[in-house]
Symmetry: C2
Subunit: 329 residues, 2 copies
Amino acid sequence: MVGRVAPGQRRATGTPAPSAEPVTARIAVDLLGGDHAPAVVVDGALRAFQDDPSLHLLLVGPYDAADAILAAVDPAQRDRVGMLPMPAVELHPDDVARAALRSVADGLADAVVSAGNTAALVVAAARSVGRWPGVRRPPLAAVLPTVAGRLVLLDVGSAVDPDQDTLVMHARLGAAYAAVVNAVANPRVGLLTIGTERGKGDRLRRALPLRLAEADLPAGARYAGLIEGNDVVSGAPADVVVTDGFTGNVLLKGLETAYATLGPPGGDPASVPPRVAMLLGVAGTIVVCHGAASGGDLADGIAFAARMHRRAAVAAMADLIPHNEVTHE
Amino acid sequence: MVGRVAPGQRRATGTPAPSAEPVTARIAVDLLGGDHAPAVVVDGALRAFQDDPSLHLLLVGPYDAADAILAAVDPAQRDRVGMLPMPAVELHPDDVARAALRSVADGLADAVVSAGNTAALVVAAARSVGRWPGVRRPPLAAVLPTVAGRLVLLDVGSAVDPDQDTLVMHARLGAAYAAVVNAVANPRVGLLTIGTERGKGDRLRRALPLRLAEADLPAGARYAGLIEGNDVVSGAPADVVVTDGFTGNVLLKGLETAYATLGPPGGDPASVPPRVAMLLGVAGTIVVCHGAASGGDLADGIAFAARMHRRAAVAAMADLIPHNEVTHE
């Protein structure tokens, strides 16, 4: 069944994409990821597939969910849908996520999209595609709309008990992501805390400003100082906001829900980025949706993953943060 | 100058207020608290004073700021404004906050309002009016509008590195506050985290659900389980949300700013509670405004403090959480 996946742009991770768009993008989809899987994943995969004639799907998970997609696909388009065989008995969602990640490591797909368990995904990603050197815990980066434009918030759920070194590396990765994905020149990197007086914040954050001010940030980025929750809405003082994965996840889910209810802070619904996060500091394109993601969110995630592949975003970030070899666990 | 403050309802903390409203409320105002003090404090104090003929002000801080208020007051109302003498030389804002808190402990005022440094306020409050037994770190509780109604979020900035015992006590205090201030019967208490699967969350939170399920919660409250950032916007699963002071502060400032920009989640601007927090687990009425509070916020804070005094909110909470003696540090 793997043979159904077109070879597409099977090139090594790290090689820039050709400039002509849209090139084929082969997206591995975790059919069992998320609270409402597989129904919303089937729905999302079909929507993304129909919106993008150059999108190929590699369905990873149980046959019945894959069959629901295959049955809805125009027979003339069947060559754009493949499936990774999985044992049907006692299939754990984390096993499916791991298989989807391996398909990227094995060159069977260009990117993976999953709404599955974040902790399991992050560990499996490090093992399969590998971490960049110096990246202890790959962060999940989300993009939020603000009054002033788009803002990168990281981490939003991977490193829930980070140390200072981890947050400094996240600052570097976030700066590269803002430069590549939001096209921000010389990104301003802020540290999220609860007051800008000296000595404010918790144990983790008190000594971080000095570390961040001295950090080797890529893409001409600079440390822009301490910022607070309100600054993540205004977007005025920073393009990248660094925080631990617990605080970032809570704030992201709060603000995303507020904006979904009330409209985005910039006023233009078209300005709202997809409700997805990208795993940074790994040698592959890995896009994570919320556990509670809808079919529309999954479709957005798949389209986003295809866009990241076509723009060779991972290779572009790797160029900004030089490293010699990838660490496999 | 102290004599200018009318004796008002000088009764022991813990005694319920008489039912007739409005009774006199004597509010000590920290003139040097906040980023924009004393200008916004002067503005806010005058607004609150003019809105409430039964409000008495005890101005604590430098004479020039107090004089700006005294000059604007109708001479016929001068007996409603008093001032605590402070040395004018090398006056540190934290000293002013401490003096304002002492005025409550000494029975010169019924409540205090400050936009000063949170950490200094919490420590000074514990020393002056005293903590309730078992309260290691008094939490700051804020009330947020939600789609479903009002929600108590705590802690929002006092206990930034709490232990589990502290969060269990905060759950009890938050339940009492929701019952007394939001008139919620049998409040549902949720623990803020980043996913509802077992084992999600950081080190601090992983073992807390069991502790909260077994906790002796007041006012018929019950533990309602794990909730996420989105639930703080919908308000559907909980009336009280417990979290550490770092996460709570970031989320509060993010959501308050989103609602100030986009309108409240319930749609009715009149439903928005004042942007203030109340210090719980202490034997006095202590209201804290944001460091960046406006004159309007300060006026709201003073009016809120007067309301809490008139409703004898602290005594009502103490009745719900029985204790024998107050701990002074």
